[in-house]
Symmetry: C2
Subunit: 421 residues, 2 copies
């Protein structure tokens, strides 16, 4: 990147260098200062509620052609603003992830080795229209001791700026550098590109939004990315499943919320139990408003079901639609998941511990579940407190990305004058 | 990458897909099979010593213009071949990193969460002329349950092929897929580029070689990379150092081996002790054949020392040369390290525990040492067994990369029918 020739790249570089310097101060700040900043920011969000709502109203007015779903993601109200403030307080209450001794051992020569959790440095956050991501991401990065550069969707720019002002107030109150939490200085789309190319300036990019955004980020980024492009999750009902449990789990995994990445998109069911159980499962889900795409073997049991194409099994519906395939045991289920899955979350329902182990050990996915709903794939449900996203890559962190996953580590080696032979 | 239009890309894709399938089998293979393959490969290396030496002789003959250093890296002899075989046996003796339960907890709803170590998948290894890397990297990846695609330097291609044949023999003996350890099907340099672009096909690239190779890999790769471009390591002698210890440590850190990445390149010494101690340090090192580049304050003590330029402090000498700078305490030392260092390994020599803590906590480097030689930055010295390299990035792994660092993790969530509210 030739910063001199490209004003956007220069803006990025200036922001990132300020973030790097702030990250150094943040890394050495103790828990009290970080928590103080978070609590002061929460107070500021409550105190500035009217200003935030006004900014949000201006955002909504400036973009009249929005779909209802987009508008719902963008709109703020007093309840959502209070939830943001509470979210900051919850992050303040979480333990400090920095400085944890992850491992410690002593070598025969007396050298003591400690692996110690450390802040990542500078995080780049690229997201769409939900203004609350501004507060949530800032809080998690701050608590993890990293500076963050936030680039939210243009439609929510005024809302994000109003929320960012509260974060800045919190940082000032705790005598921490304001550059630790920055919003992009421009809404020019080229700034996103500059962030993605900023290897060495930004340590990690986290995209949050639809598949289009995440895929673009993954494909273009020269900076490491933690993300998932999609959550094409499977629930596999094994021949020795408890039928009542299978019905409850599938209904929850598919229909509790259909738009979340941990929602089940495809049911795999063993041929041995399909004739008896599948009609009940379909009846349960149909009553909840679900429709279906079924393979030929499923349609031989329930001929009224629409046909599933190859493409359907590769589709993350994020809707009240379930793909159904009849399989012949755990290896057949695993083969389907490896072919069509997104390495996100898969569940098996069975009373057979050996089969469950074969399933869990045979997966490549970030999360494998046994007799549980795939919708439990969430940092809060894992006990991590808030999460910043879910990762399906294989490096650094998989599954929910929360405070611990926002850290790296460093070794401390403590000697008494040892030299190497 | 349009594989159909590009025969090199197609070769890479075929190799990587075969590797992916083999990785699946390897991931589910138990420790006995993996160890059997390693031991059988060690036997094959001993049995085929003559063939390996002949291949090596052909490599040397085909490249008559080599420098002495290059030739030394490329040449094999019976001792080096025996060391390779022993290396494979040592990896076989290490514990299996796959399947370790890294963390386990239970949530209030009864869900049990386990974080379990898993193989990464497909590793790409890009290296220069040392033929032993073929055996070492193959052994570590195999033991870690990942397939590996090896692309060594053209000059050592015959040697690598002969060693690879032994690895293949080991895999066959253990009934494991030969595609788990592959050498590049072509010496075309475009194959390296294809590897670097193979996001989704290769999960991790590890480069091993000079700074030029590593920097190219880091700059061009679209696949995650674990590496260090350089090891510009510092030893900081604090005002309250034990002088005898400081002399022993610096001599070892600089001169034990000057060509390794953990060798100290720059001495930082506190102004308070420099007049007394610096002449002794210089005398010690000069007696070992070291020369010097000194800042003005050091030259005010020892005027005969050559002047250090700004560029000298940014140079990884990998030679019997030491840059010297006089500093004013720990913050001054840290500021120099942050400006010129490579985030690899730095050491402090002091009897003051508080100062040592400030130094260790103030670093951004992968490894910080207190009263120990920087040359201990090595997987074997850390107790990891063999290492495949040293990483200075901030994601996934830092410091020595050994079996544990070659793994990712996955969550197993075990329920009794829990649904999410």
């Amino acid at each position: 990147m030739n910063a001199l020739a490209d004003p956007i790249a220069r803006q990025l570089e200036d922001a990132a260098r300020a973030a790097r310097a702030a990250a150094g101060q943040l890394a050495r700040a103790g828990r009290p200062a970080k928590d103080q900043a978070l609590l002061a920011a929460a107070s500021a969000i409550r105190a500035r509620q009217e200003a935030i709502l006004a900014a949000n109203a201006a955002d909504l007015e400036a973009a009249p052609g929005l779909t209802a779903a987009f508008r719902d993601r963008l709109v703020l109200n007093p309840a959502r603003i209070e939830a943001m403030a509470k979210g900051l307080e919850e992050v303040a209450a979480l333990p400090d992830p920095v400085g944890r001794v992850l491992a410690e051992w002593t070598r025969p020569n007396g050298l003591v080795f400690r692996r110690v959790a450390q802040p990542l440095g500078v995080v780049g956050m690229i997201y769409e229209s939900r203004p609350n991501v501004t507060a949530d991401a800032a809080a998690l990065c701050l608590k993890a001791g990293s500076a963050v550069l936030l680039r939210g969707g243009t439609e929510g720019a005024r809302s994000s700026a109003a929320i960012h002002a509260c974060m800045a107030e919190g940082l000032r109150a705790a005598d921490l550098p304001e550059a630790a939490v920055q919003i992009a200085p421009t809404q020019d789309r080229a700034f996103v590109g500059a962030m993605l190319r900023a290897a060495g300036l930004i340590d990690l990019i986290i995209p949050r939004g639809g598949k289009g955004l995440v895929t673009r980020v993954m494909e273009e980024a020269r900076v490491p990315v933690l993300a998932h492009a999609e959550g094409l999750c499977h629930t596999y009902i094994h021949a020795r499943a408890d039928h009542g449990m299978a019905r409850r789990l599938l209904a929850n995994a598919k229909m509790r919320r259909t738009g979340v990445c941990g929602a089940t998109e495809t049911l795999l069911i063993d041929a041995a139990i399909a004739p008896e159980l599948l009609p009940l499962l379909v009846e349960d889900l149909a009553a909840l408003g679900c429709s279906f795409k079924a393979d030929e073997r499923a349609r031989s049991i329930l001929p009224a079901l629409p046909v599933a194409t190859e493409a359907d099994f590769a589709t993350e519906w994020l809707d009240s639609i379930l793909s159904i395939k009849v399989v012949d045991g755990v290896e057949s289920a695993l083969a389907h998941i490896r072919r069509y899955g997104s390495e996100h979350t898969e569940a098996i329902v069975t009373e057979d511990a050996e089969v469950a182990a074969a399933f869990l050990n045979g997966l490549d996915s970030a999360v494998g579940m046994w007799n549980a709903s795939t919708q439990f794939c969430d940092g809060g449900e894992f006990g991590f407190g808030a999460e910043i996203g879910i990762a399906t890559g294989r490096l650094h962190a998989r599954g929910p990305v929360a405070l611990e996953q926002l850290c790296t580590y460093r070794y401390h080696v403590i000697g008494t004058g040892q030299t190497r032979a």
